[in-house]
């Protein structure tokens, strides 16, 4: 799931201070699951903006709306019809939604309400953790399913560095050393010998360093 978190209210107020009519647009996808941009968050943010601006002596008319997803044209395109009613659309989707609206709705002034942070999992209520870097060249079969690219501070490929101590990463006591976990996992699977192999230098083109990425499945193309 894509994890995001709402920007600080001050920043958002600054963003929308010139608007008379604003559409706060939520998304029922990932951001709703990670409590950043679903229905509830939309209404909370809308009230907060109303209050915040009224304290500055400004009035604003806000409409609240939440789409099933902001990453599909069928939900986005209708925005084109009433876009002129609003000075801006404050999207509470991940960066994908914001981009998509900007791409498809020429007249819409779209603003991001969230910082899109990482691909992660929900550990417990209120806690998410990064699990994948979306690097486009998965090595999880070599590492017991645990990702050194996303979860090692230096994205090491060949085992733990000298800063691994008691299963913790040297950068912060709260961070576990993923290579210790990989070592433990592979040992448990009687696969620890695999760690003797040298993993060759990575090709980072698929990780975005080769330019914007795109995926095509011919069989599904219209």
């Amino acid at each position: 799931m894509i994890i995001a978190e709402r920007k600080k209210l001050g920043e958002l107020l600054e963003m929308v201070k010139g608007c008379r009519r604003l559409l706060v647009l939520g998304c029922r996808g990932c951001v709703a699951v990670c409590s950043a941009g679903g229905d509830k968050e939309v209404s909370v943010l809308a009230s907060a903006i109303r209050l915040g601006l009224s304290r500055q002596g400004k009035e604003i008319e806000i409409e609240e709306r939440t789409l099933v997803r902001q990453c599909d044209p069928e939900y986005i395109d209708p925005l084109n019809e009433d876009a002129s009613d609003f000075d801006a659309v404050l999207s509470m989707a991940c960066g994908v939604g914001v981009n998509f609206i900007a791409d498809r709705c020429g007249k819409v002034n779209v603003l991001p309400a969230l910082d899109t942070t990482f691909y992660g999992a929900n550990l417990s209520s209120g806690e998410w953790k990064e699990m994948c870097a979306g690097c486009g060249a998965c090595v999880l079969h070599l590492t017991g399913g645990l990702c050194p690219v996303a979860r090692c501070a230096k994205s090491l490929s060949n085992g733990p560095c000298g800063g691994s101590q008691n299963g913790r990463c040297e950068i912060h006591p709260d961070v576990s050393c993923i290579w210790q976990q990989i070592y433990d996992k592979l040992s448990g699977l009687n696969r620890s010998d695999e760690m003797k192999n040298i993993m060759p230098m990575r090709d980072w083109t698929s990780a975005g360093h080769g330019g914007p990425r795109r995926r095509i499945r011919e069989d599904l193309l219209p």
Binding site: L156, Q165, I171, Q180
Partner: protein
Amino acid sequence: MKAGSNLENVLRSGAFAVTGELGPPKSGDLELVRKKARILKGFVDAVNITDCQTAIVRMSSLTAGLAALAEGVEPVMQMTCRDRNRIGMQADILGASALGVKNLLCLTGDHQKFGNHPQSKGVFDMDSIQLLQMVKGMRDEKKFQCGEEIKGNEPSLFLGCAANPFADPFEFRPVRLAKKVAAGADFVQTQIIYNLEKFAKFMEMVRDLGVHEKCFILAGVTPPKSLGMARYMKKFVPGLDVTDEVLARLSDAKDQREEGINICVDIIRQVQDIPGVAGVHVMAIEWEEAVPEIVKRAGLSDRPEPKGIEPVLSSSSSIEKAVEDARKEVRIEFEEELERARTEAQASRELVIKEKEKVASEISDLKKQIEEARTMASHKEAEVRKLTEEIQKAKKELEASQAAGPAQAPPVAAASPPPGPGAPPPPGGPLTDREQKVLESLNLGLQALKSVLGLDDSQFEALRRFLEAEFMLQLGQIPAPAPPPPRPPVTEPAPPVPEAEPAPAEEAKAPRVEEAAEEKTARNKEVVNLVAKGNLALHSGDYNGAIEAFEKALSIDSTDEKARAGLADAKAALQKALSAVKEAPEEAAAAPEGLPPRPEEIDEQWWKEKWVIRYTAMGNVALMKGDYDQAVSAFEKALALDASNEKAKAGLERAKNRQGIFIPEVKAGQAPAAVKEAEAAPKPEAEEAAEEKKEAPPEKPVEEPEAKAEKEVKKEEKPQAKPAAPKIEISAPAGEGVGEIAVSPLSKEEPPLSERAGDIPEDVYKEACSGAIQSVTLGDGEKAISVGGETALPFYNFEGDMPNPPRVAFEVLDSEPEEWPDVLTKYFADCLGDPAAWAKKCVEEYNAKSICLSLISTDPNGADVAPADAAAVAQKVVEAVDVPIIFWGCGNAEKDTETLREITGRIGEKKVCLGPLTDANYRTLGATAMAFQYPVVASTPIDVNLAKQLNILLENLGVHLDHILMDPSIGAVGYGLEYTYSVMERIRLAALTQQDDKLSCPFIVNLGREVWKAKETRLPTDGMLGDQERRGVLMEAITASALLLAGGELMVMRHPKSAALTEALVEGLL
């Protein structure tokens, strides 16, 4: 041979190799590199040049490596994967090799988070193993990483890697080393070894894998520079295993640096015995000077002749010439400057010599004069002696004649004096002709004597002459009514004569004597004799005799001025003596020495008062010096003179108290000596008055009308309070309630730095900061205080502003403290159980600008007082004082949340400060604080990053940085002060110089509780550790002052005296 480097040569020859380490400077100063290289040269086979170690920007390892090479020291260039991608790295590798670098150590690199640019993007295009593969490919296969061929010169490098035997997982470490060797490592340098057992085990596993045969293993060693450094490495450097044995050796050592070198040498000796170890890598971090010593002591100083060290660049003559020219230019400038300075120095030296000569000639002139005077005096003395002998002879003749006919001998005096007690019967009888003649000759002698001495102005000599003559007369003719004093005729003023008297008396007498001698012929001889006798008697203390003599003289010639004056003198003296006798019994009981006689012009009562004051002052001085015996005797003397004197009483009590507690260091002889000294040099009145003033202020509060209870408390306090810091002069302004707490201000340096710096341009010593510290306001109303706001390092007033002085907050506990030592509780004895009264006392008596209420009673592991009850107490404190209040919870995150919320519920709008907020409760408490706009204390365990993180979390929550005080966690002096200092300093530097605004909050430093829980503040007074209170006060004050310098802005303290000292320090520095 892979690269032909010196290191490779040494290792392949089988010799035990030694490498060193050189950290490039955080500047472009190449000379620093050269200097370090020169220290190491000849003692190591190669030197590692670090590549921005700990992710701090430094001169690049390639540049510094080339500088080392030019000095004839072979570099091992380190290269990390953190800052460059494969393109940049390969480019640098080509360049390095081309310029003569022959060793390359491949590292992944420390994470950028640890350095001075934590916001940077870490590259990590590859890891160290892949880097080894890449360079090996370039060297052996002449291929770039992409597979493209290197056409032309390929890099020729001896490849190294690092290995940490002490990181986890331990079993994987040898495997990882094997991977590195397989990837291309020719040699390996290990992490610093202290735990030899673990290292031996690691090597055993390495040998099992056969790795030691495929590469050279150099054991990493570091001499610990101090115990602090060793502790720091153990605590904060991940993967560094400093053993307890090493710590113990350092802490037992007299010279820690020396022991550090010994430890290092011992480790080198031991790793030499481990099979597979081919050398050592000596890392003396910023202590390069230690390396030669270590290498020598380890018996490794006989290094093989270096081979293959050829700097490529420095051979270029043009560069050399440019350098030479630049040097010349600098030298000329320097020499000019030097010459100028020399001329100036010479000129001033000559001036000084001239002055000296002038003074010397003056002195020698004076000496000559003195010498002349002396010769003249001795000359005259000889004459006097001669004349005296003549007189003696005459007297003998007179006696002989008296013996012949005593009955006929007439008295010289007109009437015979009445017999004094025990006086022999007067001889009486008229003078025979012969005696008359003798007397005449005597008079002639006197006349001669006078004419001789008349030249000499010395009143002293005149007196002597006169008295001598008189004495002769008395012996021969009329015995004095009282026996003459049992000492030789005066040559000096008689000791019992009051000090003040001799001078005026003698002055008055001298001219008189001269006059008398001149008029002698015209006056009745008898009168003259009687007057002389009277004067002698007066001087020898026989006042009755003197009066009689003068009266007799007057009866003969009532107009004689001398006699009249003498009579008056004698009567006055008698009167004085009588009154002195009256007092004697009283005085003798209390003061064995008694009072020195009072000068006549001074009223009796006043004289006594003076001495009471003087004795009290002497007592106080002795008390300050710690000489309590003397103090007691002085105060007792004062009390004997005036039993009702309050000051003396208080002083005596104080002195006795201390006398009881202290083992007096003063030797027995010292006390009387000091008394004598004080008496021998009576202080002028001005000084005495000053003394009186000095001791007066501490007493004043007692005399002022105050509540009785308070008065009593104060009296109890004072005796101990004052000696607590005897060296610190106490000069409280009169009328202030806490005289004994106040501290005299530090002297401020008058001339500004720019003046003191002389010709040094400002930009040399000034380094303006780019950041600023937030200003946080505590409390409301006119008693509100602001802390922070600096734009420079603490007290660097020449670099920026420090608009708000650091403040002291007095710590008040919400329940009676159980473990506080008496030396602390006694200041609050009357209010310990009542926090409101306690806080009030702090504000009113100790001038507290802020209060920190410690809610210790709420601790679930202690009294576990309910939040509501704790809040009720807190509310009382808030109502009692108007200074800003900090509520400091018990440290249990959950309980603090409940308690502090309850408190805010009660006090509402009043601006207090809440703390400590930790990562466990910052959300709830942060929200509460935000609702009321309270400042908060963000508390983290001694760590820069944790402190920053909590600030970020709070800011994300909506708490502004100008409402956050950082509590970095404190260690008292002797209990980790250096860690605290270091962390605070780093935080402050980050905020001021690295624009790390998330760390720009002011510090609150809760140090009182740390200091006063230290064992040293609890141990009683003894001979070795000294006075308990003084010790505690100084520990607290020293901790405070150290942390003030690290950036502390709000110091939470306990002892009023140390608080006062701290405030005085701040005052003095600003």
